[in-house]
Amino acid sequence: MNLRTVIRLIGVLLGFIGLSMSFPLFWSLYLDGPDAGALGTSMAVCIGFGGVLFAVGWGSSAPVLRRESLAIVGGGWLLAAFFGALPFYLSGAIPSFIDAYFESMSGFTTTGSTILLDIEAMPRGLLFWRSFTHWLGGMGIVVLFVAVLPYLRAGGKQLFQSEVPGPAQDTLKPRIQETASFLWKVYVGLSAVLTALLYLQGMSFYDALCHTFGTMATGGFSTQNASVGAYDSWTIDLTLIVFMILAATNFGLYFHVIRGRLNSLLRDPEWRFFVGLVGLCILLVSANLYHRNYDSVWGSLRYGSFQVVSIVTTTGFGTADFDVWPAFSVLILVSLMFVGGCAGSTGGGMKAIRFLILLKNAAHGVERVFRPHIVRTMKLGGEPVEDDLRDAIVVYFSLLMLLFLFSSLAMAAMGLDLLTAVTSVATTLNNIGPGLNAVGPIRNFAGIPDAGKLLLSICMLLGRLELFAVLVLFMPSFWQGR
């Protein structure tokens, strides 16, 4: 492990975070808000500290290998959330630093869980920063700096793989820097379109921008206490449903779509599975809601589909309180939390492709009982799935389940009720936002004990970085020797 390289690059990363605070600072100055001082100070501290780290690591020319990249991504995210919390804390808008850290981590990891009781009372600059962290964390801060920094070369590839969600991606272009910048360009492009659409449907430019950040990053922070429900507009609901799905689609596929191969989207086995599953769940939930919660088919479909899409894409926007829905619908939503979006998207959760491979693996396992001598290669869309990948996914799933179990136990030990304990972990581990009961869609995380908030913050990071980049930081052997 070459610590100096790690420190230098984390310094650069913090510099990026500091610079990005200039956007909320601009809003604050423009509106002459009370939070300009806090934002300015945080920006200076962040850039200053980044500069110090950069200076400490200066002159190190060791390459970024696997360990370095894991340390940069894992350590970088922990620190990013720390500095991202400063504006909330320094302005006094969130008096407890642990609360501020939770909020900041929830932003960067695109979770969207909040401890704020009255969102609308927050100064505009801070609220903008809160949504902006979503947008930065969605496509990935490390991916952004791989896209921008020219000198990373092969190290960039390691960093890229450590942050982009889902099993290893094909790189779209020969150079990783070009791949990363392509992904960011698509991300920015889709975001611009969505902002325009929301603005045209009557949102203020500020709200349109903040909701775009929440949607494209599949985050879920809103500027309204009642979330998207506050607008009560079916066109906005529909626009967001479409863009949540677009954001939860593998961005690599857009590379082919832009080149004119539209059917590469329809032929992608993961995307087909994902869209099929979403469609099925919308039908089931809407049918379940009809007559029980909504009198019209139209209403059941509208609220059913929005909630299903919001949860499966791991966004977490709300237009209805699903806590009061029948158990069948609620259970579908909780199960969908673990499925999540597609690999290579901004969505969280386990990812549809992992779920698909686990299903196939289970089917093959059952077949092997009565056909012990059969040799079968698992295939997705006609392409073989390597055994290594399959094994890694089984490991991933077991780890996820263990972490889910132990974290839920810990939350219960802190005195939370069963539903709250279990769903608070499920929702943070999968980067969704709302849970059930005390952390339900119209409630928030303010009532969770401090230790619980810290644990859930770690869960969010585990979820966003897909376990490994965080877990290795706790392995002594990771830090020792070469």
């Binding site: 056909r371 001598h373 059969i374 040799v375 079968r376 290669t377 295939k379 006609g382 073989p384």
Partner: protein
Amino acid sequence: MEIVVIGAGQAGTHIAAVLSQEGHDITLIDVDRERLERASERLDVRTLCEHGASPQVLEKAGAARADLVAAVTHSDEVNLIAAVTARQLGAKRTAARVYNRAYHGGGKIEYRNILGIDLIISPQTLAAFEIAKMIENPAAVAVETFAQGKVQMRQMVVRNGTPGVGRKIRDLFPPGRNSGILAVSLSRGSTISIPGPDDVVNEGDRVTVIMPSGRTDEARKLFGDLEKGAATVVIAGGGTTAMMLAQILEARDVDVKLIEENRERCQALSRVLGTTHVIHGDASRRGVQEEERVGLAGAFVALTGEDELNLMSSLQAKELGVRRTIVVVNRVDYAPLVERVGIDHAVSPRILTGNRVLTLVGGLAIESVAILQDGKAEVVEMTAQSGSAVVGKALGSGIRTPKGSILGALVRDDEVIIPKGGDRIEAEDTVIAFALSSVVEELGALFTNGAN
């Protein structure tokens, strides 16, 4: 014609044997003196014990004047280089046997065009397609299609108690265009002849008919050739032929089980194949065959590299009740024995290779050929070249086809015409004809423009 054959293995010897019987002048080249001596004991051919890809050797063998140079040594590279060299020296036609699929080209690259080789033969592909055809047409002895699938030739065994038994050719296939089916040959025992209208069809005879592809059902009903293709097939062995066969059958929605002994090979196969069930095991073992329910399958195909193993595992499968067994034999002399002990079909990739090469002989007008009864007769597809002897002439009066040949079908502008006396042949008509091997060349010459 002058023909150079490089490689005196089983395919090379088969080519040399058939062609020298037909009266061609053959030069056989091989580096192995013993093999050459064995060949020259039985065949009236000239032999050269040298490296067949060498330009000097090829020149000495007369490749420059040769009508056909066929390279069928065991080495793909030698075959390719020998064929290219012969072409450069001036050989009219060249053929090379190539096992490795990497050399078969694909996409935009046709090695045939780049290298100037007329025929690149893949024995595995030939065998796979041949077996697939047998599986699909279980009762027919031979099936071949011509003119892009518009015309079918079918050789069938006359079964006991079927409508055709004991009837005259005249009654079975009344002359005139409406019948659309023409009987071109009748084999009894080892003799093969063109049937006259008064010949009677007996049980056990083999009848060859030529007909438009849409009318095959009528002809099949006459002789009890009604069995449908197998819906489930078990393949023993996982070589290239097996893999290609599985792919062909998969595309026809046949349920395929492939049993292979090597685990790594199994894994490689399961990556390439789609719906095929790849089973790791020894296909010759009764236990494995019972577990995989071979007895319930429609066909069992033994494709391992060992003839003896293929034979034993097929007999085992037959014992368990499989409907049909097909065995690949590498040793040509085993083929008749295998069929005698109750195996339904023996397929020899070497004979298939030889037959494919033989399609190149017979003049430029001939496009493709089906070989019947060990090369005694052929069904050929020809294009009437403008300026050739037959163009503009009427059948019966104007055109005298050689004795032992008969024109079976004409294809003109996508329309299939069963010819009768008085029809005229136009330039660029495709003609499908039956001919005894001894007169194939003479027939081909009628359709070829002498100036070419």
